[in-house]
Amino acid sequence: MRMDTVIMGGGLSGLTCGIALAKRGQRVTIVASGLSTLQFNCGSMELLGCIDGKAVTSPLEAIATLPQGHPYSKIGTDRIATLAEQAKSLLDDAGVIMEGNAAANHWRITPMGIAKPAWLTLFGHLHIDDLNQLPARRVALMCVRGFFDQPNGMLANGLKELGFEVEKIEFTTDDITALRRSPSEMRASSLSKHLVSNHALLRVADQINSLTGDAELVLMPSVLADEEAVRTLQSMVNKPLRMIATLPPSVPGARIQTLLRHYFRMLGGNYLMGDSAVSGTFDGDLLTAITTAKLGDMPLKADNFVLATGSFISRGLIADYERVYEPVLGLDVDADAEREQWTRFGVLEQQAYMGYGVATDNNLRCLKQGKTISNLHAIGSVLSGHDAIKMGDGTGVSLLTALAAAQDILGNK
């Protein structure tokens, strides 16, 4: 089967690249082994959050100071602002409505109540422009009775440390109580499926309106399925209402993935979920075809290929007892040879392995045994030289490298 471009990996970077290419009329197939780490995304995108442990306020300026091996430096820091704009409008076109801009970070609130720098945050979710000017003082934190995915105590303490006066308010409705029959699945995704109808939302709104007294801002876990439900509930509640991300699997993260996948399909793209690339055929400096687990003896041929298989958690990179490697195509990786260097003892310390990934040239094209594969780009978390946890650059790298690779493929860099 022949495509213009075949993308290995169906997460944020793979979908973004696929959409950018399909929009320009390319025939694109995405091979996605299961749902991606977008399911763990809190509903925010970050461009660059921290350098050397310090929060970044102006990501565009800070990006100019990054070392050469960072994916942003490879793309060219002069292109970042434009690509960031394009990424935001691509999300917008897919129905992922986000607030924020690349010139100045805002603060998102994690499920544990910690403020972290972010570039974009989903509509309806709490974000704060300036921690010295909180949007409200007295906050009602709505806690769903029996709910697993929100550590209320930690969240309330975190919010208090930011300067809010927090009152935890437990509530439930008939719809929510009915869910508790299943002892193991009182989870955000289950709630999102049962709080859909206007009646169900109205019962939640009634609880909020009767319990929140003199609060100036109401916060509730992000368990509403879509933007429409958020708007509906906001209109029913007589105070400002904002969502706060829950522990994963996250409803807003899953929503972003669904919207992007839907948009990609609408543009004529093929999305093969539950399949994975297993090997490739090379001809000189070209990758000519890949085989997948499910398509078997039918290789996917294409003019261009994109590797968007993610990092260790997504099995885009594998570490065994001896080495770190890229399992599909055996590409060159940037990683320390000695196993002792991979990790440090403290789990929260900066870990070297977080920066490992496939080696690329300055156009994000992969290397195999030192030679550039001219029609194979790598994008997103599989790339080396960045650290989603310590630098807060994971989603930004995914979005921007995806667009940069798409432009390179379309030949209008």
Binding site: M1, A178, S182, E185, N270, M273, G274, Y321
Partner: protein, 420 residues
Amino acid sequence: MAERMQLCNISVNNFEQCTKCSICTTVCPVAAVTTDYPGPKQAGPDGERYRLKDPAYYDKMLKLCLNCKRCEVACPSDVHIADIIQRARMSASEGKRASLRDTMLANTDLLGTMANLVAPVANATLGLKPTKLVMDSIMAIDKHRTFPAYSRQKFTTWFKRNAAKEQDAYAHHVSYFHGCYVNYNFPKLGQDLVKLMNAIGYGVHLLDKEQCCGVALIANGLYKQARRQGQTNITSIRKSVNDDHRQVITTSSSCTFNLRDEYPAMLDIDNKDVRDGISLATRFIYNLVDDGKVKLVFKQDYKRRLAYHTACHMQRMGWQLFSIELLRMIPGLDLVELEQNCCGISGTYGFKKENYERSQAIGSILFKDIADAQVEAVTTDCETCKWQIEMSTGLPVENPISVLADALDVEATRQANNIN
């Protein structure tokens, strides 16, 4: 040493690979509509830990699992969650007899053989209100369901009388695993396949001995019978693929999935040597076209707007691409690919009275998508999805092979492939 340790780390059904991320639960169509079902993570890998300790931890609510495999498709760690659940159901049912209702629903071929003999009577009777009420109250088969109509003539009878003789004249050959639905309910699909294959120069043949693939037997706990029938089928398929060098093609995604994947996973039937020789017809034809071996010519005046629904087992096989890309070759066809959601019927599951409401609730997202798509018909590779979608949306549902056969300019195609 290190390498050997890593090899030891591989577990049955990738059970140990579960990272407890819960993604499977977010996509489970059953957990989405009922709180009675604990969800795939709890029912699968989590529950398995307890069951390994003591089988008494088995939760009877596992019977609510549709075996749609959507959890497996979504799992980022390749854990065979549904297989773990099915295997648990299997161990729990050992030594127990299936109910009369389940036995009847599961034996699609026995029921078919009896009904064919008296098709007009059977169809009329099964459609009557009193019959439905009796079935509802005594058999617990939901009264809302209409049994798919039985054909007066079996596909195999039609084939032997009308088509078998000409088949040897073709240069290339395949065997056709028609399945129960084509044989007893809807021979037209089999006839469409013969028409299509003949037009591209392939003779179609029946297997020496074909029995029901057993997908419904497995779902209803009749494992021994399923294994017996499976062995008969694999013996016939083996002869076709290995001795006669004829690939075996099918027109049902569930039969295909069962023959290829469930036989080894659920029934311990070794099919390694012939698994690659079993293919869905759309995949087989797509590959021929893609390799430039055959050409398809379509009618100039053909014009339709259809929605393609990916059946659960089709998605698990990962083959929807072949049906979709083949359909996209028809110039006059405007094809809408629906979001992949379960229709809720899951073979015999939705026929059972206790499952009816749940079945319809599960399918409601798909039915809404179909209504929004504004199409004249739906196309899908699964016959039970067809019944469910037809009953629930009122739109006709066709197999992609029938759509292709309908759009095909037979004469022009024969000429393009140099067939007299």
